[in-house]
């Protein structure tokens, strides 16, 4: 199958001071296939949101290439690129409070993109906005309200409507549920799944909640300090993780089961997640890895196949 999106050695670095470079995304190779949900997990600061934003064109790429349907995407987006690519690639943001303009009505928020792209005539805006509000489970008469009149879950529905009104093929969901209460999270997940099926979407689902990512996605990529350390079918990565970091993540993931949790062995891991500044040639996890060896400090491990559709970047995994 030809991938919908292909990332080749994608890098996004930020210069934070003289001679100090933050390697937020550092050489990511990834293929995303049509109609799949690819989950991207990792802890804060690992570069997963930067990766998503770079794919959406919100950041200029430092190096590497991204191909969308075989077409190379521009290194830096110009206004005309946004106009044309926003109909293909859209993003749903983490924070439903800061990602909606408080001075725009719901109608303006949802209609802005399609109007700019010339998709909706001014006479059909009212009907179209109404349709989208109903699709995401809001009422048609909400169109004249402002974002502050909605709860967090409702705002996230607005964010979804705004993104999908552009009729994109590929949607980047950057932690779309982490700001919401448990009882509301499931509502949003079910809504995303329903709309994905209806419009044949491909999703990149970025989150730090392992159980949820495993539930939502077909494949799962684990990111640590700017690079992908494990990639495979969600169940394979979740139930038989190969990379020591993934093992640690899965081992620390609390599950709602008291008997299981109270018998869970505590894995003592020393150290903090380092900041990816001025990375040298070494495994990025070497400082915290229980299985670290000499080779890890002198050679960066690359992703290599360890099973069917299962890839791990570790020197020691068979």
């Amino acid at each position: 199958m030809t991938p919908l999106l292909e990332l080749r050695n994608l890098k996004k670095h930020f210069t934070i001071a003289k001679n100090k470079t933050l390697h937020a995304v550092d050489g990511v190779n990834l293929e995303i296939f049509p109609n799949e949900i690819l989950g991207l997990v990792g802890e804060s600061g690992c570069g997963k949101s930067t990766l998503g934003r770079t794919l959406a064109g919100l950041y200029e790429k430092t190096a590497g290439e991204v191909f969308y349907r075989g077409q190379k995407l521009p290194q830096k987006y110009r206004v005309s690129d946004f106009v044309h690519l926003s109909r293909e690639i859209q993003m749903i943001f983490q924070d439903p409070y800061s990602s909606l303009n408080p001075r725009m009505t719901v109608r303006e928020i949802i209609a802005e993109g399609p109007r700019l792209a010339g998709m909706w005539k001014s006479t059909e805006v009212t009907t179209k906005v109404k349709e989208w509000l109903e699709r995401v489970g809001l009422a048609a008469d909400h169109a004249s309200r402002y974002p502050h009149e909605f709860s967090g879950g409702q705002r996230q529905r607005l964010g979804i409507a705004r993104a999908l009104a552009m009729e994109p093929k590929f949607v980047i969901c950057d932690e779309p549920i982490s700001a919401l209460d448990v009882s509301i999270q499931a509502q949003i997940i079910n809504l995303l799944a329903e709309l994905k099926g209806k419009f044949g979407l491909t999703l990149l689902f970025i989150a730090h909640d392992l159980s949820m990512v495993r539930y939502v996605s077909n494949r799962m990529a684990v990111m640590y300090l700017g690079s992908i350390v494990e990639l495979g079918e969600s169940d394979d990565v979740f139930f038989s993780p190969k990379h020591p970091y993934t093992q640690l993540l899965v081992g620390s993931n609390p599950e709602p089961d008291p008997i299981k949790e109270k018998n869970r062995p505590y894995v003592d891991l020393h150290g903090e997640i380092p900041t990816p500044v001025n990375l040298g040639v070494a495994c990025r996890f070497a400082g915290r890895c229980p299985k670290v060896g000499d080779r890890c400090r002198t050679e960066t491990p690359l992703l290599r196949p360890v099973g069917k559709n299962h890839f791990v970047a570790c020197h020691f995994v068979e």
């Binding site: 209460d181 009882s183 509301i184 008291p258 894995v267």
Partner: protein, 328 residues
């Protein structure tokens, strides 16, 4: 078992421009020595307000404790004058606040912030307090504590700031530690470290622990007892095993079904439809009525009383002898 903290009939209101919010509507809770109580619930259910009111941390106005009592080691905390509260807060009761980014003073070195507690409550000289601050930072696994003690909060990562907060809260070896969402801002590996640390401290000092959280995974790992709050009331209360495996309240069941199961088989997520009620004008009947799949006629107008199975409480009419039981 001796009760360390006992809350009875607590009611708290806030006056706002939009009217009066009945944030806590009659809460009873019990914390025992050396045990952990987890208070679970979604944002706005009153879980933070409940613990803040026993420490006199409700700003008044707009807040007002309408009624209720909170006995800590037998002494009444509600209505205690500030100078007396100050002898208890920080010394006998420690509190870890939710947001480590905003709860530390950005203009003070972390060592000085820890020492402040020790100098006010303890019989420490300045140099002893400093040595103790370094020891505390080591206890919370902050490396190079000797240098770190002179750093400012901005020089620490989120996880480390949270540990500094814990060091402050346990500085005087409190008998009761209240942790309001202690790990919400943290990553899972760091969360594991912090939870483990709290457990160690609890065992060492026979400390009572109250954890406020909405993460059922954290509850499962830490709690001896669980109180589930909804719309300003405790709707279910029991041991962790009772609440997780034999839930008495439809809301608790709903929460569990809304989470992805870590089992191999993927079951459909069942969301709780709707949103919590507006506490400006709380419903006359059960707070969960509008979202409950098993709601009956009686639920709309009559707030359920507490029904018990042993010490396991569920505030739901389904447990009335004339109703059928909750089907789990």
């Amino acid at each position: 078992m001796s009760s360390l903290l006992s809350i009875r009939g607590l009611k708290v209101e806030f006056s706002t421009y939009g009217g009066t919010v009945q944030a806590v509507r009659g809460v009873d809770l019990e914390v025992h020595k050396g045990k952990t109580l987890a208070i679970v619930g979604e944002s706005g259910c009153g879980k933070s307000v409940t613990v803040q009111s026993i420490l006199g941390l409700i700003p008044s106005p707009p807040g007002r404790i309408v009624s209720g009592s909170a006995l800590f080691n037998g002494t009444e905390m509600i209505g205690k004058p500030v100078n007396e509260l100050n002898k208890i807060r920080g010394k006998h009761i420690g509190m870890i606040f939710q947001d480590p980014m905003t709860s530390l003073n950005p203009t003070m070195k972390v060592g000085d912030q820890i020492m402040e507690t020790l100098l006010i409550h303890g019989r420490y000289s300045k140099s002893e307090a400093r040595a103790r601050a370094i020891k505390l930072l080591e206890d919370v696994h902050i490396s190079e504590a000797k240098n770190r003690v002179d750093h400012y909060p901005f020089q620490f990562s989120g996880g480390m700031r949270q540990r500094v907060m814990i060091a402050m809260a346990i500085a005087c070896e409190p008998e009761l530690l209240i942790a309001d969402e202690p790990t919400t801002a943290l990553d899972v590996t760091i969360q594991s470290q912090i939870l483990h640390l709290l457990r160690e401290l609890q065992i060492k000092n026979k400390m009572g622990l109250v954890i406020i959280t909405h993460d059922l995974g954290v509850v499962a790992r830490m709690a001896d007892n669980v109180a589930v709050m909804y719309a300003g009331q405790v709707v279910e209360h029991g041991t962790a095993e009772e609440v997780f495996y034999k839930s008495l309240h439809p809301y608790t069941l709903g929460l569990k079904q809304a989470l992805p199961s870590p089992a191999m088989e993927r079951s459909q997520l069942i969301p709780i439809e709707g949103a919590p009620p507006d506490l400006f004008s709380p419903p006359r009947g059960c707070g969960f009525y509008a979202r409950c799949k098993q709601a009956m006629t009686i639920c709309s107008d009559n707030n359920p009383r507490e029904f018990y199975e042993g010490s396991h409480m569920g505030r739901c009419w389904l447990h009335h002898p004339q109703a059928k039981g909750v089907e789990v």
